[in-house]
């Protein structure tokens, strides 16, 4: 066992931060939070904060990377140096390269890339503060920023993590659960048709536990989707009121 681990992470059905087994942290979603970007959004799960900006569709350089049939989505995930107790050294890491790759793949599924041949659509995500599920928060912010930029999309992407802690399948791993829990399982779905565009597992699950966790994550993604829709609607109403 790792040094510093608490004896139990779930006591009488309550988690260390007071949440129930299937309870998510507070969610906050806002769009249009940056002025310079073509689209932007902020997404928060408790203390995990992500900021996304979209630039594009724009010309892709160098030219040999252009795809004559579609736009190239490029998502870059980055953690601010002060986002974690141990300072994060600026620059890419193996972890950030892998996360950027899977975020890019997840977003590529929902954007109508055929509408912008030869173009690039760049999605940059900054993790302002990290307390687990940063890739889920990143993806939620990125999908909103794409919508804010007016990029045509088949669907949004909504993401959250399930996991296993003290033998229980739980929703939205956070805090000490992230260090001392058994399993972390980030999931992302297209909310309307419930297709899975991101799925990772770290840790041991039986097939039955996995299916339970997947089902729980699906419920979590739906809640995320509600927050995303509300953020988009709020802006829409604001615009209306402005007119």
């Amino acid at each position: 066992m790792k040094a510093g681990a608490p004896e139990k992470l779930i006591i009488d059905g309550k988690r260390l931060d007071g949440r129930g087994i299937e309870e998510m942290r507070e969610i906050e979603a806002r769009i249009g939070v940056l002025k310079r970007a073509d689209g932007s959004a902020f997404f928060r799960f408790g203390n995990t904060r992500a900021l996304a900006a979209v630039y594009g569709p724009r010309q892709l350089h160098p030219k040999y990377l252009q795809d004559p049939k579609k736009a190239l989505i490029r998502c870059k995930y980055n953690m601010a140096p002060f986002s974690s107790y141990e300072r994060i050294r600026p620059g890419v890491s193996r972890r950030s390269i892998e996360i950027s790759k899977i975020l890019t793949e997840a977003l590529s599924q929902v954007v109508f890339v055929e509408e912008f041949p030869r173009a690039a659509i760049d999605v940059f995500v900054e993790i302002i503060q990290a307390d687990a599920s940063t890739r889920c928060a990143a993806l939620n912010a990125a999908a909103l920023a794409l919508a804010d930029a007016g990029i045509p999309m088949k669907d949004l992407v909504s993401s959250c993590a399930a996991g296993k802690v003290d033998g229980e399948i739980i929703l939205d791993v956070a805090g000490l659960e992230d260090n001392y829990g058994e399993v972390d399982m980030p999931v992302a779905m297209t909310p309307r048709d419930e297709n899975i565009v991101l799925l990772q597992i770290d840790g041991i699950l039986t097939k039955e536990e996995f299916e339970k966790a997947l089902d729980l994550a699906r419920k979590g993604c739906k809640k995320v989707y509600e927050a995303q829709k509300a953020a988009l609607k709020e802006k829409y109403i604001e615009v209306d009121e402005d007119e």
């Binding site: 790759k101 599924q109 565009v197 990772q200 770290d202 699950l205």
Partner: protein, 261 residues
């Protein structure tokens, strides 16, 4: 083989799969021939050459002494690194690992780490601990690199011996094995590809040009999931995911037998 084939071939592969067959006539859940050879690099503490059809991967385990992680002062440290060296493919270039090589490293690493197959506790030597470097060297690329790499990694770890350490001279006596590296489980990674809406195992390079999405499921000897990674730009339905998990557990068992596990 010209790169044109891969473009033109994509539709042909999809057509075949939608009709229930594959380019080389295999069944959807059938691997190409797998060969595993260990002890192939004498200077490495452990090594394995794995071929899956024409895909060839060489894995070496090198051990050295280094600092532990602060929160696990008595545990050895596992480091997995993948080099997609340019001998293996006209599209691989010399240089630091790209995102594909890094994804392979991290998927293989997670399978080993999360299965807890290496008894890392007890790998301390004074203030230091054994650093277990697993280096995956891809030599010939004909598809399904993740499964070949993961298989090579666990085979090389099962082959690995910890070298003697001379405490007076503070020197590792390479070439003089002390004891086997304690490996107590055999994680196996199975990657399921989706083409024309069908699920296939062990996709060849030509098939991968037509790949919609893929899911790698690593399972342990108990048939439990220890790691999972969805890759590719496409999506899976929850039902497809569940089916893929079932296939992976089943194929994992078969392949684990090749390692005597």
């Amino acid at each position: 083989m010209s790169s044109d084939f891969y473009e033109l071939g994509e539709n042909y592969v999809k057509k075949l799969v939608s009709e229930g067959t594959r380019l080389d006539g295999r069944g959807f859940k059938e691997f190409r021939e797998i060969k595993i050879e260990t002890g192939v690099v004498e200077k490495a503490e452990g090594s394995a050459r794995v071929t899956i059809g024409n895909t060839q991967v060489l894995v070496g385990v090198k051990m050295s002494l280094g600092d532990p992680y602060p929160d696990t002062p008595n545990e050895g440290v596992l480091i997995v690194n993948t080099e997609l060296v340019p001998v293996a493919s006209p599209t691989f270039e010399p240089g630091p690992p790209d995102e594909n090589a890094i994804e392979i490293s991290r998927v293989v690493d997670r399978g080993i780490r999360e299965s807890k197959c290496i008894e890392l506790e007890g790998l301390g030597v004074g203030e230091k601990v054994w650093i277990i470097n697993v280096d995956i060297h891809v030599l010939d690329h004909d598809g399904n690199l993740i499964d070949a790499s993961a298989l090579g990694a666990i085979a090389a770890l099962l082959d690995a011996k910890i070298p003697k350490y001379d405490e007076n001279e503070e020197k590792i006596l390479y070439g003089e094995p002390d004891r086997k590296l304690p490996v107590k489980d055999v994680p196996v990674a199975i990657t399921i590809g989706k083409i024309s809406g069908k699920l296939l195992v062990d996709t060849s390079l030509k098939e991968e040009a037509a790949l919609e999405a893929r899911l790698t499921v690593t399972t342990n000897s108990n048939g439990e999931i220890v790691a999972m990674q969805k890759g590719g730009k496409g999506a899976f339905t929850p039902e497809e995911i569940k089916e893929a998990v079932s296939i992976s557990i089943e194929k994992g068992k078969e392949i684990r037998k090749l390692l005597g596990g």
